[in-house]
Symmetry: C2
């Protein structure tokens, strides 16, 4: 797969340094096709490669249990920055930085940004190395550029599906956000977390565009979910099982909150939450998802029942107003 840096020389050095004999390779869906080639390369370094074939969406999802069960002495996790503070098994993060230039896409964004002076810049881990260059382009066009860094993420300007703290922290100082990267998911998260006009500079298509219409559509859908959940008597509270999710105590407090408001609430734990998961619990009217906010953006229309974020649930029970939710953002972080 061209276009990403898999850091094979570093992998080789780490295997040798650690004397690793059994290596677990974990890649997110878009990068998984590279797994056999990388496994071959591990094998050439005299270690046994094992490919994790389960879905993997983030740095929260390090296959620690799997590695322990398999006697693995090194996990190589691709495509995400380190998120866990500590892993029980030596783990190296190969962030798979994209080698593509973003200049053209950022230049395309200048026309869209013409009425804004102060721009917040953000990106996913794949394009972090382009932030300086992108800032220069914007500054040369007369913009003031702010890159948020509130210390929760590994890098300044970085956003991930469940943490938009870097953009939230500068939202009051900027008029619009520019996200560098492919897909609309992260940019939607920025727009929904900050209520600021948000644009994408997509280096794969070499184009820039606004995601505001899309964000409005999502907000309408979320409102419909909240409305439907307002009539719900019985709630399921999802707790994610991935090492970086660990939301059990949070879920427990939400259960108590729901009960205080006269709701019946059950704790449900899951590795993967799919539309099929919900079909197994016909007596549950609505869900609160403490695991991965991606679900509420990506697959809501596929779910047979409302699956709310915690903040949305606060609207359902009347703790927050809808306006307050829009102001504070759909997500916790």
């Amino acid at each position: 797969m061209k276009g990403f840096d898999f850091e094979e020389e570093r992998i080789k050095q780490e295997i040798t340094k650690l004397g690793a004999k059994r290596v677990l390779l974990q890649l997110p869906e878009g990068l998984k096709p590279e797994a056999p080639r990388l496994a071959k390369s591990v094998e050439k370094n005299h270690a046994l490669p094992i490919i994790s074939a389960d879905p993997c969406y983030g740095g929260c999802d390090i296959a620690v249990n799997e590695a322990e069960n398999l006697g693995v002495d090194l996990i190589i996790h691709f495509g995400h920055a380190k998120l866990l503070k500590h892993e029980n098994i030596p783990t190296i993060y190969v962030e798979a930085r994209a080698t593509i230039s973003v200049d053209k896409a950022v230049k395309q964004s200048l026309l869209l940004l013409s009425k804004y002076d102060k721009i917040g810049l953000a990106t996913s881990v794949q394009h972090l190395q382009t932030l300086d260059q992108a800032r220069d382009i914007l500054v040369r066009a007369g913009k003031t550029v702010i890159i948020g860094d509130c210390g929760q993420m590994g890098y300044a300007g970085q956003v991930i599906g469940c943490n938009y703290s870097n953009v939230k922290s500068i939202a009051n100082e900027v008029e619009a956000f520019l996200f560098i990267g492919g897909g609309i998911f992260h940019a939607l998260g920025i727009g929904l977390s900050t209520s600021k006009p948000t644009f994408i500079a997509d280096p794969y298509d070499n184009r820039a565009f606004s995601i505001d219409d899309e964000a409005q559509k999502i907000i309408k859908k979320r409102w419909a979910c909240i409305e439907e959940a307002s009539a719900a008597k019985t709630f399921g509270i999802f707790v994610g099982l991935k090492p970086g999710q660990k939301t059990f105590e949070l879920a427990l407090s939400i259960k108590k909150l729901a009960e205080k408001h006269g709701k019946v609430a059950y704790l449900l734990v899951a590795r993967e939450i799919t539309p099929e998961t919900l079909l197994e619990f016909p007596t549950i009217d609505a869900y609160i998802n403490t695991a991965c906010p991606r679900l509420s953006l990506e697959v809501p229309q596929k779910f047979s029942k409302p699956v709310l974020t915690i903040n949305e649930f606060r609207v359902v029970i009347g703790e927050w107003s809808w306006e307050n939710l829009i102001k504070k953002g759909l997500f916790e972080n």
Copy 2:
């Protein structure tokens, strides 16, 4: 849910006896709708119930890792008999025995069994308590009835999706098998493991029927998979991650066997193997599944590449003949 014994009085006693404070409830898909009601009952016994929402297909799949991560002090596993020799966390098995009578369905089978004298009787855990009654009906009709017990399963006459040893052990002594239960999956497994005429007495529909035509269809499909895999150069060997699967050493030996025969082979570990899993590895031509043989019976047409059992792979590399496979059965056990 009527028709199954959830042993709520025993659950109550066990919670009290163990002083359990945090209880994980794990149910297979068909029984999951009962989970909220059972959770409520656990809560009444002053323990915090947590429902596992992930798929669960067998006694191999005890949520031990999940329980450890959540600080659970008791797992209640429903719908399967104990399979693991040892669990790290106290676990009770509620087998969810069916309360339905099987007499009518067994009587319906007598006409189908008219040309056979020696009948092997088998069932899933839900109907084990009906075996004596079923045997009586067959004996009164002049049949010799054998119920296999070779010690691998918890009960005489019991079969599960990955272990047909109880029927294999008596296949030479009987002319046909009668399986008591719903669905065709276990009966298919019996037919494909023994090559004996196999009938189902289905107490839910109160009817009896042969699964031999269905077994022939499966055999044709399996043959097509083996044919397709014979042209494959690159194999993925699936290792299941569920506590009772633990097939890593077996998978490693299959990898070596594949390499001995000039194939390229990769170890892939997974909790769930789905049609989507395969789409992530376009460079792999065919798979060998050491995890759960159910996959090869239930979803082969949904897989984009052949997913072979270990025994089928022995045919691909010329270690076994097709006839030998049919004789020894598609599955290991």
